[in-house]
């Protein structure tokens, strides 16, 4: 009975842990994918040109659904309360970007009809019919990345900010946000109440370093960008450190837009003259200035395969298409050979994060595995004492002619049946708990005030969970084996006992 309970509990715990960790990983991966699409072609910093041609070529392929040009860079953001933070900036063409990624769904400020799963009280202000029109406007703003300037009436290009960036959105226990107005510290030691709601009247200052045509940073450029909406991807790192800005805005800021350019080329008329580079001090051949048109550039093209397309197949196809593209623009875009390693699936891009969580899962499982290993000893101890208690009876059975393997088999069968019953109930309980884990958790929170998974700390609103049949089967089988193993040693021991001694046992 005791042994059965031990097995049951171990089986249930392992199954629950594994499922929750697995679900955690899956949710994380899914979130990681949301803003990336399937395959990315990345040429960092300087970017590459003629991307429109590349996109055309990509979209012509039947394996590829859509592609979108983006620029990924870093800059400084000045927030309404005066803080300046490092931020990852993504310049996107919002319509094509929404096609390739789940961007549109991550938009937070929009009217909703049903409360989110944890919002039992319906506290979410997005539910409020009174604000419906306002949120509809914000949603439209987010999807067009524009906002009307309330003073001038002009429609301006606007950014979409990660919801955790400003700190002006208070994350509630039910997993949603409530905008609030904090105080801002003033230089004279006083404070000033900030009364902004970012998608309504907030804006941020964005400072980035423009690059020259060789990729070297030149002057910093600063622009004020109104905020059209805020997004929540589900990855905290992304949501607290990312801003989306219209692609043309960022291209201009980075000077990656189409422009006439001045380029230094080797002066072939005077091949033997040299000059000293004013920046590095190096001596090189004399260069001359040439004026031409520099096409617009992007650092990244994101690609989405058609539904059901194999990720690897899409990547291979993208690589092929890039090769053709590079052939067509030889010398003007990065070589196909260099680019092969820059064409990555979203899994490659998120590899470090994914492998970190995978490792964590492995570690937790390992620890629980050790804990469960003690179950073997528990079962062993329980069986040992049972076998000792039954020494005399075993002696009787031996005297009646029962063989050593016969007796051992009796115990092992007993162990196996305990293992089976324990594992079955353990699996059922574990399965049930995982399926209802959020309900159970809520109930625990209500009844005992015990909240383990606080959405204010953990970024996922719900405790993610998934029960894999294969996992359940593995845990189940291991549970039974545990019992058999625990029963086997006492079984062999008691069966091998000298029957005469066993009969004398008191």
């Amino acid at each position: 009975m005791l042994a059965m309970a031990a097995v049951m509990l171990s089986v249930a715990t392992i199954l629950i842990t594994w499922s929750v960790m697995g679900g955690f990983l899956k949710t994380l991966i899914a979130s990681g994918k949301t803003l990336v699409g399937d395959v990315a072609i990345v040429w960092p910093n300087v970017g590459f040109a003629y991307y429109e041609d590349l996109i055309e070529r990509l979209e012509a392929d039947e394996l590829i659904d859509s592609a979108s040009p983006t620029i990924e860079t870093f800059g400084l953001i000045e927030l309404p309360d005066g803080r300046i933070e490092l931020i990852s900036i993504k310049g996107v063409e919002v319509s094509s970007y929404s096609d390739v990624t789940g961007f549109a769904d991550t938009m937070w400020w929009k009217p909703i009809d049903e409360p989110t799963s944890k919002d039992h009280e319906g506290e979410d202000i997005r539910l409020d019919p009174q604000y419906r029109q306002m949120f509809e406007g914000m949603q439209a703003n987010g999807l067009s990345m524009t906002r009307e300037n309330l003073k001038t009436g002009h429609i301006e290009a606007a950014g979409v900010l990660g919801i955790e960036v400003t700190g002006l959105n208070d994350r509630r226990v039910w997993g949603g946000y409530y905008p609030w107005s904090p105080n801002r510290a003033l230089p004279n030691g006083g404070t000033e109440r900030l009364d902004v709601f970012m998608p309504r009247d907030g804006s941020v200052g964005l400072t980035i370093l423009a690059l020259d045509s060789s990729g070297r940073p030149i002057d910093p450029v600063t622009r004020t960008i109104p905020i059209a909406n805020e997004f929540q991807s589900g990855l905290y790192e992304v949501d607290q450190g990312t801003i989306f800005v219209p692609l043309d805005v960022i291209q201009r800021m980075l000077r990656l837009d189409e422009a006439s350019k001045v380029e230094m080329v080797r002066d072939d008329e005077n091949p033997f003259e040299i000059q000293v580079d004013p920046v590095t001090g190096e001596i090189g051949p004399k260069m001359k200035e040439v004026v031409g048109v520099d096409p617009a550039r992007v650092t990244t093209v994101l690609v989405r395969g058609v539904d059901g397309a194999e990720l690897e197949a899409v990547r291979t196809r993208v690589r092929e298409i890039y090769s053709e593209f590079a052939d067509a623009h030889r010398g003007l875009v990065p070589d196909a050979i260099n680019m092969q390693h820059q064409i990555k699936t979203w899994e490659d891009l998120n590899r470090t994060m994914i492998s970190a969580v995978k490792k964590e899962t492995g570690l937790v499982l390992f620890i629980f595995g050790i804990v469960s290993f003690t179950t073997v000893f528990l079962v062993l101890a329980i069986f040992w004492s049972m076998a000792t208690e039954k020494t005399k009876d075993i002696g009787v059975l031996r005297a009646l002619g029962a063989s050593t393997p016969g007796i051992a088999w009796l115990w092992i069968r007993y162990g196996a049946s305990i293992g089976i019953v324990g594992s079955v109930t353990g699996t059922v309980i574990g399965y049930w708990v995982v399926l209802n884990i959020n309900a159970i958790h809520d109930w625990m929170g209500r009844t005992f005030g015990l909240v383990i998974w606080d959405p204010r700390q953990y970024y996922f609103v719900e405790i993610p969970s998934q029960v894999d049949l294969s996992k359940a089967v593995i845990v189940f089988v291991v549970g039974i084996l545990t019992c058999v193993l625990g029963a086997a040693i006492p079984a062999v021991h008691s069966a091998r006992m000298d029957p005469v001694k066993a009969l004398r046992f008191e």
């Binding site: 005399k392 009876d393 002696g395 009787v396 059975l397 031996r398 005297a399 009646l400 002619g401 029962a402 063989s403 050593t404 016969g406 000298d498 029957p499 005469v500 009969l503």
Partner: protein, 251 residues
Amino acid sequence: MERMVQEREAGATVRSEPILSVRNVHKTYNLGRVKVPVLHGVDLDVAQGEWVTILGASGSGKSTLLHLIGGLDRPDKHTNEPASMRFCNRELTRESKRSLDRYRADDVGFVFQFYHLLPELSVLENVTVGGMIKHGRLGYRTRCKEIVDRASGLLDRFGLSHRLRHRPAELSGGERQRVAIARALINEPNLLLADEPTGNLDLRTGESILDAIIEHRRDAGLTLVMVTHDERIAAKSDRVIQLVDGRVEEA
């Protein structure tokens, strides 16, 4: 080999060829470093159908000898002359553990000095368990009815038909001993080894149990080796031997 079987009781089917022939059996127990010699060269022949009673002081090794005959234990090996225990035409000292298991299950019935019933089983199950061991789990299933019938028949003869579902703990000592005897007889053994079957019982109960055994012996042609302290019981048997100083002395 000279036989000295005296056919005392005519009713029994006593024949002269020995079913069991024990020669030069030594047994020494090791208690840590102390050696406890119990048997020093026991010689004993038992004829088919014979009833032999073993007398001896307490601690003289009667139970030990029964255990050896019953294949529960083995005689010492390291003596000058090797021990021999022949049963029918088998040399038990040379048999494997496995075939000794079979020997106990098929040929021997054991009645222990202290009943040794299984407390978790009912009276009926305590008897049928012998059949289960003999035939194996599968074999038992096919013969289940036959064995249960036999078991309840035996228990009926021993006056326990109304007790079949009871646990041993609910029975009196005499009733328990009768259950133990029924268990020993369930597989129709050739040889019944009974270690003081009446030792813990009052005279009348003892007699009734003895009668049950005697009756069964007559019907089944059973060979019986019995240990007892009771001279009156000994007097009823075909032959009495005495264990003295680890050897057999004919009374």
